[in-house]
C-alpha cells in the first residue's frame, strides 16, 4: 500500500528510529530517468536518476536555470500548480511510492514532504498560530496536542528560547533569520519525513545563515533534507552528499567531501572552482 495515499498515516514512520552504527541507510527518494517540461514539450530536466537516503542532507548545486529547483519542486508536486508542466519520462518514488500515481493524495504527499522557501513567508498571524496552522488544517483541534507540537517544533527549530514569552506576538515582527526558522518550525510541526529547502539562507545575514545551517545539521537526525543552494561553502558545510546539475542534466552526485576535492567530471570541477556559471 502506498505510504502517501489518502488515509495512510506514517506507514514508514519507523525510519525515524535510531539505526545501529554502520547500518545501511534506507532509500527515501528515488528518481528513475526523470524528464520534465514546463510547457509539456521542451525538457528542462533530462533523464535524472538519483537516490536520496534517510537522515542525510543532500545538496543540489549548479548554475541558475540548470533544473535543481525544478527537480526539488517535483518532489512534492509543487509544479502541479503550472497547468502545462508535466513529467515527460521516468518516475519519482518517495518512500517507496510513485508520487505521480493517480491514486496519490497530493495533500498527504505534501505532509510527508515539507518545503522551506528562499524568501521566508510567515503567515500574518501570531508565532503560535504560524506553527499550529498545519496541524489545524489537518483537523487537529486538541489544544494540548497543538501546544505540545508548537513547543516541540519551536524547540527543534532553535527558536523556543527566543520566543517562548511572546508566542502571541506577530510572526511578521521577528527578524529575518527568526522568520525563516519560524517557517522551518511550521514545516516540521506536521512531522514530515522529508524537508525540501530552496535556497533557505539566500536572504539572510551571515549569523542567521549560521543558525539555519546549524539547525539543518541537527534536523537531519530526524528528517531527510534536500537543499538547493548557490553557496558552495554552505553545501560543503551542511550536506552529506552533493548533486551537480548542468543544463537540465545530473552531471555528478557523490559524497560531498569527495565531490569538492576530487570530482570525476570536468564540468563539475570547472563549476565548483569558479570557472563557469
Amino acid at each position: 500500500m502506498s505510504a502517501i495515499s489518502a488515509g495512510t498515516e506514517k506507514t514508514v514512520g519507523s525510519q525515524k528510529t535510531e539505526k545501529p552504527e554502520g547500518a545501511k541507510k534506507s532509500l527515501v527518494i528515488e528518481t528513475n530517468e526523470v524528464s520534465f517540461a514546463y510547457d509539456g514539450k521542451k525538457d528542462v530536466l533530462k533523464k535524472i536518476s538519483m537516490q536520496i537516503f534517510a537522515q542525510e542532507v543532500t545538496a543540489f548545486i549548479g548554475p541558475s536555470g540548470c533544473g535543481k529547483s525544478t527537480l526539488l519542486r517535483n518532489f512534492n508536486r509543487m509544479n502541479d500548480l503550472i497547468p502545462t508542466a508535466k513529467i515527460t519520462n521516468g518516475h519519482i518514488s518517495i518512500l517507496g511510492s510513485d508520487i505521480f500515481d493517480p491514486m496519490v493524495d497530493v495533500i498527504e504527499l505534501r505532509k510527508k514532504v515539507g518545503m522551506v522557501f528562499q524568501k521566508y513567508n510567515p503567515f500574518p498571524k501570531s508565532i503560535y498560530e504560524n506553527v499550529a496552522y498545519g496541524l489545524r488544517i489537518a483537523g487537529e483541534n486538541r489544544k494540548s496536542v497543538i501546544d505540545q507540537a508548537v513547543e516541540e517544533s519551536l524547540q527543534l527549530s532553535g527558536l523556543w528560547e527566543e520566543v517562548k514569552d511572546r508566542l502571541d506576538a506577530s510572526g511578521m515582527g521577528l527578524s529575518g533569520g527568526q522568520q525563516q526558522r519560524l517557517c522551518i518550525a511550521r514545516t516540521i510541526a506536521v512531522r514530515p519525513e522529508i524537508i525540501l529547502m530552496d535556497e533557505p539562507c539566500s536572504a539572510l545575514d551571515p549569523i542567521s545563515t549560521a543558525k539555519v545551517e546549524d539547525l539543518i545539521t541537527q534536523l537531519k537526525e530526524k528528517f531527510t533534507i534536500v537543499i538547493v543552494t548557490h553557496n558552495m561553502q554552505q553545501a560543503t558545510r551542511v550536506s552529506d552528499r552533493t548533486a551537480f546539475f548542468y543544463l537540465g542534466s545530473l552531471i555528478e552526485m557523490d559524497d560531498t567531501t569527495k565531490l569538492f576535492t576530487n570530482p570525476t567530471q570536468k564540468e563539475t570541477e570547472d563549476y565548483i572552482s569558479g570557472r563557469f556559471g
Binding site: M232, Q233, T236, F260, T261, N262, P263, T264, T268, E269, D270, I272, S273, G274, R275, F276
Partner: protein, 238 residues
Amino acid sequence: MVRSNNIVATQTAHTLSTFNVAMKEIRNSVLTMASITQQNMEFAIRGLLERSQEACNEAIADDDEVNSFEKVVDTEGMQILIRFSPVAADLRHVLAAMKIAGNLERISDQAQSVARRARKIIKHPEVSETRSVEPLFEMAINLYKDSIRCYAEGDVELALSLYERDQELDKAHSKMIKELTKTMERQPSNLKTYLHLIFILRCLERIGDHAVNIGEDAVFAESAADIRHVGARALTDS
C-alpha cells in the same frame, strides 16, 4: 584514476582574474624557492669537493632566502584559502604548494649542514674518501630535480618512480657508512674528517626522503591520490 598530466596547464581560466594571478604567484614562489634550494645544494657540494670556503659560505647565507620563501608561500597559500575558498584541484594545488615549501626548507637546511661540515673538513688535510661522496650527491640531486619536475609538469609516473630511486640512495648510503667506519678504524688520525663525512652522507640521504615527499605532494595535487605509505596502490584505489 589519473585524469591528466599537469592539471594547472589544462585548466580553464578562473572567472576571477585575481584568483588566476594568486595561483600563478604561489606556483612561481615554490619554483623560485626550489631553484635557490638546488643552488644551495650545488654550492655546498662544490665547497666540499673543491675545498672552497666561499662556496660553503654562499650555501649557508642563501639558506636564509629559502627560509623567507617558505613564509612567503605559506602567506600566499593562506591568503588564497581565506579570499577564494578554493576547492578540488585548486585546493589540492594550494595545499601541495605549502607542503612542498616545507620540504624545500628542510632540504635547504640539509644543504646548509653539508656546507658547515665542509667548511670544517677543509681546515684539515684532504682525504681521498671525500670524492666518494660525489656519486651519492648525484643520486640525491637528481632525485630532487625530478621531484621538482613532478610538481612543475604534473608528472605522476615520474613521481611514482622516486620511491625506488630513494631506496637505491638508502642502500648506497648504508654501504658508504660501512666503508667509512672501516676506514676510521684503519686511520684514526683523520677521525674528525670521517665523522663529518658520515654526517654529510646522512644529509644527502635525508634530501632523498624529502624529494620523495615532494613527489607525493605533486601526485596529490595532480590526481587527488594520497600515495604516502602505500605508493601507486592509492592511484588504483582512488
